[in-house]
Amino acid sequence: MVELEGVGYRIGNKWLVRNIDLKIEAGQFWIFVGPNGAGKSTLLRLISGELSPTSGQIRFLGESISDHSPEELARKRAYLQQKRDVNFPFRASEIVLLGRHPHLNGGKESPTDLAITWEAMKQVQADMFAERLYPTLSGGEASRVDLARILAQEPRLFLLDEPTNHLDPRYQVQILRLCSSIAQSGRTVIAAIHDLNIASMYAEQVLMLREGNPIAVGTPTLIFTPQRLEAVYDVPFEVVQLSSGQLVVVPLSSDFVPRTGGLRSGSTLSPSKHSSSRTTAAG
């Protein structure tokens, strides 16, 4: 599906990514991890064809990525951006319908296009706010609408830059499960994800990056070792394997002090009084 050979990308004399060799097959689910500025987004944008590599070669479906026209690429790969802002009052359903744009060939949307749009919204449970205005949606709702747009695009390759941003744990798991089922249906998913626990739950292959350089490639269990995580993130880690096999990856704090005290819940939950009296006492 995607092959990268010695790929590097430079702005001025700073390499944002370099020496990337990857072979990603159809039906795989890859996750890119690494600290902020590691080059995850740059690598995704290179694979999408938006950026051209300064060095090396990227092949998509057997051909050099630059041989595909933008229209052709848009029918075969979709890209979910990290930062999204829409200044105009579009409805959520219209945003999703934009996913059909590459398939229109300058014509009008057919009933099939509308049906695909609706189906995509249902898949991520965005259909309940189809008629709401996109700028008024919460972060999580907007994320789901954007995901629906990518699904409506019906690509063979999904490139997702932090698809679980703004989502609560339930939707994070749901989105990753969706990615994994997309991969099982023979399409390919590459996602950049910060949350290592979520990443380790579903990723088939992990690429770990640091300052633009590839550190390791492999399955989550192989990649997420405390030593390697500390080397990459500059903070100690503990990795625990649950009886189910699922990994728990937590950063450790050297000055951690356990907080003790009673549990407050429900109607007794009124910490403001306590904290304010404490502040006055302290002041």
Binding site: R45, S48, E50, P70, E71, E72, L73, A74, R75, R77, A78, Y79, Q81, R84, D85, V86, N87, F88, P89, F90, R91, E94, I95, L98, G99, H101, P102, L104, G106, L133, Q153
Partner: protein, 332 residues
């Protein structure tokens, strides 16, 4: 969707009504429902309608509609609801072209066509200039395009100022009238020149509706949806230069239509350009027909420049828009 179809339908039926009403009102009053009879049976008032009123209301409808479409297009390209044809230099360039013609060349050469042709050329030239300046390594960045527009706008403004300084009294009067904008000189010939150019330009812009929708997600997202953003921008600027150049050359500088109309339509039916562009075309036509009716009837026998009327309406509206925008930025 049906909501938008309804809005378009209402605007579509309001336009002929406002055209007939405006054509009927004036020093010689004609009731709108008698217009078909007068036309068919050549009754009293035929000449007034045919030679005076119709070219005038039609020209104002054409100009209003292209200004509004251009505004909507530019706002889509810049992803900014405050963008306006005045911004990328078309209006100021056309004004400068006209001013140079009136003051330095005079009316001898090309006759009555001189000023419109010079205005059109000025508008297109300045737009091309803005475009070239904004281009860096084959790419046109939206921010640089805006800044280049501002720079060339002030340059053209200075040029107009210089021409005003050089002009004699008579030139000054025609210059002022032209710069303020108006349909006092509307003839069938003006309609015949403006209509084809406006039609071609509008067709170009209408075809961009879907790409403009994709563009509102951001330039990079639009690229990922298969939109060639460079070619989209090129067509948009071409269409705007064509239509606004024709509009300014027919009626002088008329501001705020491109700002007010798309915004009202967005408030009524949302931002989808498949609806916004035709809606703006209809809304802009209606607004300018009525504004011109007001301009020529409010101070009879004198006539206000229609640009003053739209600015009077548009100024406060723009401020209101700005306040709302500010609120969104602060509290949004």
């Amino acid at each position: 969707m049906p909501n938008r179809a309804k809005i378009l339908l209402i605007f579509g039926s309001l336009l002929p009504i406002s055209l007939c009403v405006a054509a009927g009102i004036g020093a010689y009053q004609i009731l709108p429902w008698r217009i078909p009879g007068i036309l068919l049976f050549h009754k009293d008032g035929f000449e007034v309608l045919i030679y005076v009123r119709f070219p005038r209301v039609l020209l104002s409808a054409i100009v209003g509609s292209v200004l509004a479409i251009s505004g909507a297009t530019l706002q889509g390209i810049f992803r900014n609801p405050l963008a306006d044809p005045g911004l990328i230099g078309v209006t100021a360039g056309a004004g400068l072209g006209a001013a140079i013609w009136i003051v330095l060349i005079g009316s001898g050469f090309l006759g009555i066509w001189g000023v419109p042709v010079a205005a059109f050329a000025g508008g297109v030239l300045v737009t091309i200039g803005v475009w070239k300046i904004a281009q860096t390594q084959g790419q046109v960045l939206t921010v640089t395009l805006l800044l280049a527009g501002i720079a060339l706008n002030s340059f053209a403004g200075a040029g107009i100022g210089l021409m005003t300084f050089l002009a004699d009294e008579e030139q000054l009067r025609s210059l002022t009238f032209w710069l303020l904008g108006g349909f006092g000189g509307a003839t069938w010939r003006a309609v015949a020149v403006t209509l084809p150019v406006a039609t071609v330009g509008s067709v170009v812009l209408f075809r961009l509706a879907r790409a403009l929708n994709a563009m509102s997600l951001g330039e990079s997202e639009a690229y990922h949806l298969g939109v060639s953003t460079e070619s989209l921008k090129r067509w948009a600027v071409f269409g705007v230069a064509l239509t606004v150049g024709a509009a300014v050359s027919a009626a002088g500088g008329i501001g705020f239509v491109g700002l007010v109309v798309p915004h009202l339509l967005r408030l009524m039916g949302g931002a989808d350009h498949r609806y916004l562009l035709p809606g703006s075309a209809l809304g802009g036509a209606i607004l300018l027909v009525l504004a011109d009716l007001f301009a020529r009837t409010v101070a009879v026998p004198a006539e206000l420049p229609v640009g003053v009327v739209t600015a009077l309406l548009g100024g406060p509206f723009f401020l209101w828009l700005l306040m709302r925008f500010k609120k969104e930025v602060v509290y949004g």
